[in-house]
């Protein structure tokens, strides 16, 4: 495998209703973490990132958040050096999906506005980024529960190995009050009730002065296993990269701000890049069936 570096990252969180102790339950929470610094809410402006006003106004909340995080990551990167845009989402653009569904029912299947339908397509963020930046290379979207972002990241690494110079990879999901209610009934609701989280990383085959980490591997494992069995699997992965779990920093998806959330590993990776150092694992065991490990070396 060619070496694969993380040369940029961007995380945009804009959510309501955390039930954790350190965040005020009743207040909306916003954070933008971009290449190591937090952009204060006052100076964060979607208009500066997505300058086409008509396009921006048509975007649903998650499309806007995802496109903005992706564009932040690509800031300063020449479009013709981008060998791929690989995105991930578990549930996609829920607000747009609900809007089109409600229109369809209320208007008895006639005279419908196509915009929310178009935006409900899972590859909308990836294709908007491609259109805005004129990037004609590989464009892919993964939609597999707790493996969505892991699949995207592992495809992005494969593209680097196949010769790409730079690849953008990201994961995003949103929550709406109605879907949150349904997920509570299913016993798997995230800790926030409404809002969106988008996390992107910029992978590169070239190590520069701005490199944040080297990405070693993304491993997924599907099915129910005993904890002992999983621990052995994790140790074996660690061992094959010359390390062990005890001496590496571990970031768990279930302990992050977003709780059980399909593309949580994207935001956990961004947080790890900010807070972690040295050999680091991102560990995910989504719904006890989608197990994954991301191993990186944070510089």
């Amino acid at each position: 495998m060619r070496h694969c570096y993380i040369n940029g990252y961007a995380l945009i969180i804009s959510v309501d209703g955390f039930d954790s102790v350190d965040r005020d339950d009743s207040k909306a929470f916003f954070d933008c973490l971009y290449n190591g610094s937090h952009v204060p809410r006052d100076s964060f402006d979607y208009k500066k990132i997505i300058s086409d006003g008509n396009l921006r106004r048509r975007m649903g909340p998650l499309v806007k958040s995802g496109v903005a995080a992706g564009l932040l990551c690509l800031d300063g990167v020449p479009s013709d050096s981008v060998g791929g845009i690989v995105t991930a989402t578990g549930l996609g653009f829920l607000s747009d999906t609900e809007r089109f569904m409600n229109d369809m029912i209320d208007r008895n299947e006639s005279m419908l506005n196509p915009s929310p339908f178009m935006q409900s397509t899972f590859n909308t963020v990836g294709s908007h980024i491609a259109m805005i930046r004129g990037i004609h290379s590989y464009n892919m979207t993964y939609v597999h529960r707790g493996f969505s972002f892991e699949s995207a990241l592992s495809d992005a690494m494969m593209l680097i190995d196949e010769g790409a110079e730079t690849v953008l990879a990201g994961g995003f999901d949103e929550m709406t009050f109605p879907v949150h209610k349904l997920l509570v009934r299913l016993g798997s609701a995230p800790k926030f009730q409404n809002g969106e989280i988008s996390g992107f990383v910029l992978l590169s085959s070239i190590r520069t002065g701005n490199t944040f980490a080297e990405l070693h591997c993304v491993k997924t494992r599907y099915g129910h296993f005993s904890e002992e069995n999983l621990e052995k699997w994790r140790s074996d992965v660690a061992l094959s990269y010359g390390t062990d779990l005890e001496s590496a920093g571990i970031f768990d998806c279930d302990s992050s701000v977003s709780g059980p959330y399909m593309t949580d590993s994207a935001s956990v990776l961004c947080n790890a890049l900010e807070k972690g150092s040295g050999k680091t694992f991102i560990r995910n065991d989504f719904c006890g069936k989608n197990h994954s490990l991301i191993l990186l070396d944070i510089l």
């Binding site: 369809m104 004609h136 993964y142 939609v143 597999h144 529960r145 494969m158």
Partner: protein
């Protein structure tokens, strides 16, 4: 770098319940398009429904009445298990690292839309388990469990789901091929599945690209597409000793036209780039292509774009080409799964499949699709295209062994 072989194939669509019945439909030039009968809709447009109801599919797959399974997953189970059994009957045993990669655009929307209509005003009501299959990954995991329940099918070392609108299955096949080539997988079950539902039918209707008559790809009178449903899966393998294989997957590409969210450039930039790059991966010259299975949806925008690209790439020597959409409709995320199975069979048996509903060419392009049917024709290399919303353009090359 390892070669990639197709060793099994399975398909279900409005044109038939397996590969044999598809070939029979092509031979008899019989379209499976008709009125929507399996669900309630206010729209009166032709569609390509799979003739079996959910309960008939469950009975055939020996799945008991509960739990909830989306139609998308049922169609996928049928096609994927056919592909698996096809490979087994040719003497293959899947061992080593095995992947399952599915493409879909709607996932379990067929169930969710009913739940939403009934319970959106009081989300505390209704059988909550019926929405547990809404997300796309749920359908893939249901297919994985079903395949594992078939004797001889081991578990999966890699499993994922792709959704790039109408090129989803094409991209699933491409990912499987790349992972086999690089040695990450020994076998890959790849393809796509989508069921018809009111959500997508109304979505395409809102874009005003549905034809109220059967679609007429590449015809001067073409006025839109018809939606369909179905599933198609291939078993890919790296085993170079395969003598019973269908063909090889030699070329692939995924590019983004970056032109318009739902439209195609009249110059065909995306399709041209996709086909050119797939040829480059395959190491083939345009003159070595025997046949092109176009995306050919029947919308003037797609067909003009694709025609322009064919003329740019092949100039005065455009090979025979077809569109299969008038047989089973545009099956969206499943489309390249269904059509890749047809292409694999076309290479293996030397079948040229003809387009339906063509009488005179689009003014300006003058391109005339192949409209006959021929067996034993000798086909060396087929390009198969699938294009989706967001400018996603994917091309695959299937080559004779």
């Amino acid at each position: 770098m390892r070669d990639v072989y197709v060793i099994g194939a399975g398909v279900v669509s409005a044109a038939g319940s397996d590969l044999g019945s598809h070939i029979d439909s092509f031979r008899r030039r019989k379209s499976g398009l008709g009125k929507v009968s399996l669900f309630r809709t206010a729209l009166d447009v032709p569609a390509g429904e799979v003739s079996m109801s959910n309960s008939e599919l469950r009975r055939e797959l020996s799945l008991p009445g509960k739990p909830v399974i989306s139609r998308t997953a049922l169609l996928g189970m049928k096609a994927a298990s056919q592909a698996f059994e096809d490979a087994c009957s040719s003497g293959f045993r899947l061992k080593g690292t095995i992947g399952l990669i599915c493409g879909t655009s709607v996932g379990g929307m067929d169930i969710s839309e009913d739940f939403w209509e009934t319970h959106r005003d009081d989300l505390g009501e209704g059988d909550i388990s019926s929405i547990s299959m809404h997300d796309c990954g749920a359908s893939t995991q249901a297919i994985a469990s079903y395949l594992k329940s078939i004797a001889g099918c081991p578990g999966f070392d890699f499993i994922t789901t792709i959704s790039t609108a109408c090129s989803s299955a094409g991209n699933a096949i491409m990912l499987g091929a790349r992972m086999i080539r690089s040695g990450q997988l020994d076998y890959a079950i790849v393809g796509g599945m989508d069921s018809l539902c009111r959500f997508t039918l109304n979505g395409f209707n809102s874009l005003m690209i549905l034809d109220s008559k059967p679609c007429r790809p590449f015809d001067a009178t073409e006025a839109g597409l018809n939606l369909g449903e179905g599933a198609g899966f291939l078993i890919l393998a790296s085993d170079v000793s395969c003598r019973q294989a269908y063909c090889r997957v030699t070329g692939w590409s995924n590019v983004d036209e970056a032109f318009h969210q739902t439209g195609s450039s009249p110059e065909g930039d995306g399709p041209y780039m996709a086909m050119s790059q797939a040829l480059a991966v395959a190491g083939l010259k345009p003159s070595e292509i025997s046949f092109v299975n176009t995306h050919g949806t029947g919308t003037p925008s797609n067909d003009l774009s694709e025609s322009s690209a064919l003329i740019r790439l092949f100039q005065d020597h455009v090979p025979p080409f077809n569109s299969l959409k008038a047989y089973f409709g545009h099956t969206l995320g499943a489309s390249e799964g269904v059509e890749a199975v047809c292409c694999a069979a076309a290479v293996k048996y030397g079948i040229k499949i003809g387009s339906l509903n063509f009488s005179r060419p689009i003014p300006g392009t003058g391109l005339v699709p192949y409209t006959g049917f021929e067996e034993g024709a000798g086909i060396d290399n087929i390009i198969s295209n699938s294009f989706g919303f967001g400018g996603n353009c994917s091309s695959l090359v299937f080559s004779k062994l």
